[in-house]
């Protein structure tokens, strides 16, 4: 009578082992990368000011990746985050150009990005259109609006910087690490909802097997609408934080974040096919990517080669994770 139990236990333990390995790929990559980073930049990387810089860049990537992660959990993908990010920059620039209130600009920007996400969500949940095509269309539309509003030139946004800094009482320390704080708060809220409400299980249920989720009484439509809307919202927050951090930008500045956000999610160990993973993992993904960009900037690698490196890393990770999943399924 004992035999089946033993088999089960063995099976489970081998799965757990693979699971630990799967979850820690990010950590391992992270540690190796950190060591390489210090060596390659001959120590310049490890300067405190640079490490703060790395964390702040990671916060912006992480914010965008957080929304992307929720979408990927449901088995979808949002290709429009970069363009939506840029749309927010366009709106902030428009307000700065015309001398309007920057606080209002931030609100309008967030409303617009959330609206983009909402429209994505409507199209994905109410029609049979595949998510990547829906968000591809939204990407073109959002980018076009951003460029039409202010053009492709960069705009200084002292108003936004002053306004956001004013929100934390002009405290210099808080002001410097504000993007990180915002990231932590957003992550915290997401984790609370995923762990302590039905939001989490429902999310993974949809990504795992949508039909099963429907039959188990999950309101798939509403959940999808929600995650895409949230994805637009976090892209807007990330964009505002970028503008605050570097004091100005242009509508095309968002385009790398499409790739960066997907890469951060995948590097964290979340399956691109949905249904599994954790939002915590995006922390590792975002910081790893941030280190990578930072190091490539310090050693002055051609930006086009940087793109290739990023792409190769993303493909490599998807490949390794898919292979490991196949192995663990066979085990």
């Amino acid at each position: 009578m004992k035999a089946p139990d033993t088999v089960l236990v063995q099976e489970r333990s081998s799965r757990q082992l693979l699971g630990i390995f799967q979850n820690s790929t990010g950590v391992i990559a992270f540690a190796i990368l950190f060591a390489i980073a210090v060596v390659v930049t001959s120590g310049r990387f490890a300067r405190p000011s640079n490490l703060v810089e790395v964390l702040m860049r990671a916060s912006v990537i992480g914010l965008v990746a957080l929304g992307q992660n929720l979408v990927i959990f449901t088995g979808g993908v949002d290709l429009s985050v970069g363009a939506v990010f840029g749309l927010n920059v366009g709106i902030l620039s428009y307000f700065a150009k015309h001398g309007l209130d920057p606080g209002l600009g931030i609100l309008v920007g967030l409303a617009a990005t959330t609206a983009c996400g909402f429209i994505n969500g409507l199209m994905v949940s109410r029609t049979k259109m595949p998510p990547f095509v829906v968000t591809l269309g939204m990407m073109m539309i959002a980018q076009s609006i951003g460029l039409t509003v202010v053009g492709a030139g960069a705009e200084d946004l002292p108003g936004v910087v002053a306004f956001v800094h004013g929100l934390v009482g002009n405290d210099p320390t808080l002001g410097t690490i504000l993007p990180l704080l915002v990231w932590i708060v957003c992550l915290g809220v997401a984790v609370l909802f995923i762990t302590f409400s039905r939001f989490g299980p429902n999310l993974f249920a949809i990504g795992g097997k949508e039909t099963a989720a429907i039959y188990s009484g999950v309101n798939v439509r509403r959940m999808k609408l929600l995650v895409y809307t949230l994805c637009g919202f976090t892209a807007g927050i990330g964009s505002t934080m970028l503008c605050y951090r570097i004091g100005g930008s242009n509508p095309l500045a968002g385009s790398p974040y499409m790739l960066l956000s997907i890469a951060a999610v995948v590097m964290g160990g979340t399956s691109i096919y949905g249904g599994e993973g954790s939002v915590f993992n995006t922390i590792i993904g975002a910081i790893t990517l941030s280190i990578l960009v930072n190091v490539m900037n310090i050693v002055q690698i051609n930006p086009f080669i940087q793109d290739i490196v990023m792409g190769a890393i993303l493909l490599g990770f998807v490949f390794i994770l898919t292979k490991m999943k196949q192995v663990s399924e066979r085990a």
């Binding site: 993908v77 290709l79 199209m123 029609t127 049979k128 259109m129 595949p130 990547f132 095509v133 829906v134 591809l136 269309g137 939204m138 990407m139 073109m140 539309i141 980018q143 076009s144 609006i145 460029l147 039409t148 790739l259 997907i262 691109i272 096919y273 051609n302 086009f304 080669i305 793109d307 290739i308 990023m310 792409g311 190769a312 993303l314 493909l315 998807v318 490949f319 898919t322 292979k323």
Partner: protein, 316 residues
């Protein structure tokens, strides 16, 4: 029955619709020069859309076609720059063309291997092909727009037989060959089977993976051909010359009536779709509207077209 006919000819109906729109919204749209430009650019885009059609038909997706076309313009320009004068122009051109086509097939093969063997979702896998193509293009000429050293090559872009330009005639010829290839050969039948139901195709002994790999390679080849005609038409090689064309190609395919779920569509529809987009683009130019808007228009059309085609699937 009526619905069926309507469905079959919907790309042509849409094209007729935008032409009517052009007649109403603009003055002096229908002159020989403008129409010939539209036809040539539709053909360039049509090459990309043709490959994309086959990929989407077998439930794939190729985001790299625009960048492969750009890469092909750069390769042609670079080879001509390097070799011109060392051998006859004809030989230089031949080497340049063959290298560009080979590079296109190479990127297509990488895409195919990533999708078929590594099982990476097509839109991520072909993003990889996209970066590789752009990276190569920028590395080869350092991002500088370069004039084609062999000027006689431009005949390929602007030469005409009667009213029709060389790119358009070549595209029609390629489509004809492809049409008979798909309809009359076993490989063609396999493509159809793999597009319709890959599991059933697999059970019938068809190596679906190999068929899909072949199709990604063909997509790379056609994209490179599109790039060749683009460089012949503009007379330059530039890593950004076909930037964003992948979106145009996908929109053309969807307007052309190919189902995004695979298994349905024709190779002629994509050409009508490409022509529709080019006419719309010209309307925007003629009306003096900001070029940024054209992206919005294409994005909206993409969404509407996908909505209509996926709804159809729901009705069946």
């Amino acid at each position: 029955m009526n619905l069926y006919v309507l469905r079959k000819y919907s790309p042509l109906i849409v094209l007729a619709g935008v032409l009517l729109l052009a007649r109403v919204l603009t003055t002096g749209f229908f002159n020989t020069f403008n129409l010939s430009v539209i036809l040539t650019m539709s053909a360039v885009l049509g090459f990309l859309a043709l490959g994309e059609t086959m990929v989407i038909f077998t439930r794939g997706f190729d985001l790299s076609v625009g960048n492969v076309a750009s890469m092909s313009t750069v390769i042609v320009a670079a080879v001509m720059l390097r070799l011109q004068g060392t051998m006859p122009d004809m030989a230089v051109t031949l080497i340049a063309v063959l290298l560009a086509l080979a590079a296109g097939i190479g990127v297509g093969a990488l895409n195919g291997i990533a999708v078929v063997r590594m099982r990476i979702p097509p839109f991520i896998a072909t993003m990889g092909g996209m970066w590789i193509a752009t990276g190569l293009a920028f590395l080869i000429l350092r991002g500088v727009p370069t004039r084609l050293a062999v000027s006689s090559f431009k005949v390929l872009g602007s030469g005409r037989v009667l009213f029709f330009s060389v790119p358009f005639l070549t595209l029609v010829a390629v489509m004809l060959v492809l049409y008979f290839f798909i309809r009359r050969t076993t490989i063609g039948a396999r493509v159809y089977a793999a597009g319709g139901n890959d599991y059933a195709a697999h059970l019938s002994g068809i190596n679906v993976g190999r068929v899909r790999l072949l199709i990604y390679m063909l997509s790379g080849l056609f994209a490179a051909m599109g790039g060749l005609f683009l460089s012949a038409y503009t007379g330059t090689g530039f890593p950004r010359s076909a930037e964003g064309y992948e979106m145009l190609a996908i929109a053309s395919v969807v307007i052309g009536g190919v189902s995004l779920f695979g298994g349905a569509g024709s190779i002629w529809g994509a050409l009508a779709g490409a022509a529709t987009l080019q006419v719309l683009d010209k309307i925007i130019v003629y009306r003096g509207i900001s070029p940024f808007i054209s992206q919005m228009v294409i994005g909206s059309i993409l969404l509407i077209a996908v909505y209509v085609t996926t709804r159809r699937k729901g009705l069946q």
